[in-house]
């Protein structure tokens, strides 16, 4: 096994998911950013804002996905000013796609763009590695998504409520975390609809346990914070 190399580029092994429901979308992700086998950030936020009404889930190279998000946020901001009204999810997704496709040789990032606009309602666009753009009722990405294809085939249905979509999301991410070494930490969700944006946070120890998973327990290092023993008296 290679010895721990902290100079490896930060990757976000990751599990990212975007789901449409009746009235909007829910975006979800795990929170592990790894450098090789070292977890550089165990509580990262992989769901990034592009505009008030459009967010993006990032996976793959942390640097690449951040720079693409930054550029798109910049372009969308200008576009919104020019247009005089909020940008549509489709436009945001197209800008992401153009950057991904035209720089495919240099970038390694899979993105899921999701949001709500007044013309089309809630929409999810999956933009995997090569820069394809595909509008989908739900999208999954990242290394952890391999373990979720069958799950979604069975569990996803059209016209879910917001609560159903969110709980499906949390269940899916926790299933992926259980099996994928590159995913872990907490589950973050962002719900976007006509009323606005809501962020939610599910700490790791509140997630359901699956087959053969061991319950979380407090670190045995807790004894370090215990008071030192009284000196004996003779």
């Amino acid at each position: 096994m290679d010895s721990l190399n902290l100079d490896e580029p930060h990757s976000m092994g990751t599990t990212i998911i975007g789901v449409t429901y009746d009235g909007g979308v829910v975006l979800g992700a795990d929170s592990r950013t790894s450098t090789g086998v070292y977890v550089a950030n165990r509580a990262s936020d992989k769901i990034t804002q592009l505009t008030d009404n459009v967010y993006v889930c990032r996976s793959g190279s942390a640097a690449d996905s951040q720079i693409v998000s930054d550029y798109v946020r910049y372009f969308l901001h200008q576009h919104t000013i020019q247009l005089g009204q909020p940008a549509t999810v489709k436009v945001a997704a197209n800008l992401v796609r153009l950057l991904s496709y035209n720089n495919k040789n240099m970038l390694q990032t899979g993105l899921i763009v999701g949001g709500w606009d007044k013309y089309e309602g809630g929409k999810i666009y999956g933009i995997p590695l090569g820069g394809t753009i595909l509008e989908q009722p739900f999208a999954i990405g990242g290394s952890g998504s391999s373990y979720l294809y069958g799950f979604f085939d069975q569990a996803w249905k059209e016209g879910m409520t917001k609560e159903e979509a969110e709980s499906l999301m949390v269940k899916a991410v926790s299933l992926a975390i259980a099996r994928d070494g590159a995913s872990g930490g907490v589950v973050r969700t962002v719900t976007i609809n006509a009323d606005g944006v809501t962020r939610n946070f599910y700490p790791g120890d509140t997630l359901p346990l699956w087959h053969e998973e061991i319950p979380a327990q407090n670190s045995l290092l807790d004894i370090l914070s215990a008071p030192s023993p009284e000196p004996m008296s003779m």
Partner: protein, 249 residues
């Protein structure tokens, strides 16, 4: 209105002492000398009509188009120097195309109007360019409904319910103001525009003219296209009838 701008009218980059740029005003005169162009916004779309003055009997009917499609959802009717108009249409088509390449959706009509206006204005800022000698009526139908814009040689662009440019613009505007546009469908609008153009055409000064019309409405599935032949003939017939009735008084 004519005042001579002696000395201050030689270049578009010169202001007169009373704050006017005469070259732009002269460009507007080129528009005023051309055949009338009218556009109206009805409740379900936009209709545009052009009084195409025929300079020679040898001209093939239907040639020398004055109304051009810029995108599937919008079109422009041009008054003034036709060659200048062609440039502007080409530019507008380019803008619409590049917008769609970058943003992935059809260019909003408002944005298109802004870009055309910007381009027209651009050409009034440099001494080595002359202003465009044409007025444009731009009609389109996008997600925010049907819209009508007019762009003048100065680069000004406004949104209108009804607009007219060219020789008979004053008479045309008077007629348009009589119409109840918010209750009118485009089908009815086509007939009304034909009537107006026939009415304001000056038989004494200009001989023959050809009526060219286009629309973009619910009936055309929000696509900008020439008014269907049967409807156009119906409109022309109604217009001629209305003229005869007027003359009979």
């Amino acid at each position: 209105m004519s005042s001579i701008g002696t000395g201050y009218d030689l270049s578009v980059t010169t202001f007169s002492p009373d704050g006017r740029v005469f070259q732009i005003e002269y460009a507007a005169k080129a528009v005023d000398n051309s055949g009338t162009v009218i556009g109206i916004k009805c409740k379900d779309g936009v209709v545009m009509g052009v009084e195409k003055l025929i300079t020679s009997k040898m001209m093939l009917p239907g040639s020398n188009r004055r109304i051009h499609s810029v995108h599937s959802h919008s079109g422009m009717a041009v008054a003034g120097l036709a060659a200048d108009g062609r440039q502007i249409v080409a530019r507008a088509k380019g803008e619409a195309s590049s917008y769609e390449s970058v943003y992935g959706e059809a260019i909003p009509v408002k944005e298109l109007a802004g870009r055309v206006a910007n381009y027209v204005h651009l050409c009034t800022l440099y001494w080595w360019l002359r202003p465009f000698g044409c007025g444009i009526i731009l009609g389109g139908y996008d997600r925010d409904g049907p819209q009508l814009y007019m762009i003048e040689p100065s680069g000004i662009s406004y949104r209108y319910f009804g607009a007219a440019i060219g020789k008979g613009k004053q008479a045309a505007k008077t007629e348009i103001e009589k119409l109840k546009l918010s209750e009118m469908t485009c089908r009815e609008g086509v007939i009304e525009i034909a009537k107006i153009i026939y009415k304001i055409h000056d038989e004494a000064k200009d001989k023959a003219f050809e009526l060219e019309m286009s629309w973009v409405c619910d009936e055309s599935k929000r696509k900008h296209e020439k008014v269907p032949v049967e409807l156009l003939e119906e409109a022309k017939a109604a217009a001629r009838l209305a003229l005869e009735e007027m003359d009979a008084d």
